[in-house]
């Protein structure tokens, strides 16, 4: 049992609206940068986004093609498993529904993969019906490299490690295949409202 450090509260801020902050989370007003590795820098001329795996044929978009797709601007709350939450973040990107339009699959799961080798797994059902995007702008500005630019996955209803930075594609899979953090003990689903941080939660 650790002794209590008299007077210690840390960086945490009092929660004004508990209904918006999941259990165990604290509000932040900055935007912490977390990373498992160096920031990749893929030139936009070489960039592409691909949907592959349990599909008839892989489908791919170049950067210009992605930008030409109908986009949405959304304001969402985001929750990091390291306990910070940030409310009312504004993003612009292409809905996964748009990208999956015309893609036939029996797969129920997805592995999102990124430059630098990062992967994370999600249920396909968590990415459809307006709940996920490939986002390329944050706060009205192009997404910065340290925050995942040029484009990252955005799945705000799950812990933010599922919103893979530097995303380059989705592989549709019949089974749920643990991605990077999931392999080391993080939860396959990751619902912050159920506090699904670790396998077994």
């Amino acid at each position: 049992m650790s002794p209590v450090s008299r007077g210690f509260i840390g960086r945490r801020r009092p929660v004004a609206d508990p209904g918006r902050v999941p259990p165990g989370q604290y509000l932040t007003h900055d935007f912490p940068v977390l990373s498992a590795g160096p920031t990749p820098h893929t030139p936009l001329e070489e960039w592409s986004f691909t949907i592959q795996g349990a599909v008839e044929e892989p489908v791919s978009w170049t950067w210009m093609e992605l930008l030409a797709l109908p986009s949405q601007t959304v304001t969402v709350d985001i929750h990091c498993v390291t306990k910070w939450s940030k409310l009312d973040t504004q993003w612009r990107g292409v809905s996964i529904d748009t990208l999956l339009d015309g893609v036939d699959t029996a797969a129920e799961y997805v592995t999102a993969w990124s430059d630098g080798g990062y992967t994370t797994n999600l249920a396909l059902a968590d990415m459809t019906d307006g709940r996920a995007w490939v986002a390329y702008a944050f706060g009205g500005e192009p997404l910065e490299p340290e925050h995942g630019g040029p484009a990252r996955l955005l799945v705000p209803h799950l812990y933010f490690w599922k919103s893979a930075k530097w995303v380059r594609g989705l592989t549709l899979t019949p089974d749920d295949e643990p991605g990077f953090w999931e392999t080391y003990g993080y939860h396959n689903h990751g619902d912050p409202w159920l506090e699904q941080r670790y396998q077994g939660d």
């Binding site: 650790s2 450090s5 840390g10 960086r11 306990k83």
Partner: protein, 229 residues
């Protein structure tokens, strides 16, 4: 915790009394863990600023702007408070008198802390090894252990990067290869170099030394930076 000593407006030394302390080597660090009443915990590493021969273990902490642990240690901690420490740890970035030299210590900002343990150990052990310290700080006001360095007789060269007094005799601006060439021994004299500070500082200095012909294996580095999320 026994005593707090303000080193600079942003850095404080914490003198601790540790009943079961096994002793340590100069350069090692400890992990300090804080626990809030509701169980919330945060942990950070701090280099030991005291020599193995000193009567108490001393940690020097610099308050980081948006820090989680350092503001508590620098602003809130009071004599009599308990601190949870784990350590000492770190067997790589250590210098014992038996390691030899000549010894060049290159510090950026709070990277000076483990070197205080080293120069004090150097003194206390009566080592005949030549020791030189190159210390880069933003301004004179941010030079930690300034008084101690002045009276200690340690061969120290100072570089100030942001502001300096009009009559400043040291190096103005960041450390560069030219300054290093001036300060270090030649590679064939087999100097051992330790570099400690922020990543960018450490890597620039290490690269410059290798560029001057020093064997990379004679250069040990410890990078300081944000940890935890």
């Amino acid at each position: 915790m026994v005593e707090l000593v303000e080193e600079t407006p942003r850095a404080t030394s914490i003198v601790v009394e540790l009943p079961a302390w096994p002793g340590h080597r100069a350069g090692q660090h400890v992990d300090v863990r804080l626990t809030a009443e509701d169980g919330y915990q945060a942990q950070r590493s701090y280099s030991i600023a005291s020599a193995p021969e000193d009567p108490h273990v001393v940690l020097t902490v610099e308050r980081l702007e948006d820090g989680e642990v350092s503001p508590y240690l620098v602003d809130e901690l009071r004599p009599g408070d308990e601190l949870e420490l784990r350590g000492p740890v770190g067997g790589y970035f250590v210098w014992d008198a038996s390691t030899g030299g000549p010894l060049l210590l290159i510090a950026g900002g709070s990277g000076i802390v483990p070197f205080r343990a080293m120069w004090r150990h150097h003194r206390a052990s009566g080592s005949g090894v030549q020791l030189r310290l190159l210390y880069s700080a933003r301004s004179l006001g941010e030079v930690i252990y300034r008084n101690e360095l002045r009276v200690s007789g340690v061969d120290v060269r100072c570089a100030l990067t942001r502001e300096w007094p009009a009559k400043f005799q040291g190096h103005r601006g960041r450390i560069d290869q030219e300054l290093l060439a001036d300060v270090t021994w030649s590679p064939d004299q087999g100097p051992l170099t330790y570099i400690c500070g922020p990543t960018a500082f450490v890597e620039a200095a290490a690269q410059a030394l290798v560029g001057l012909g020093h064997d990379p294996r004679s250069v040990k580095t410890e990078r300081f930076g944000p940890t935890g999320a």
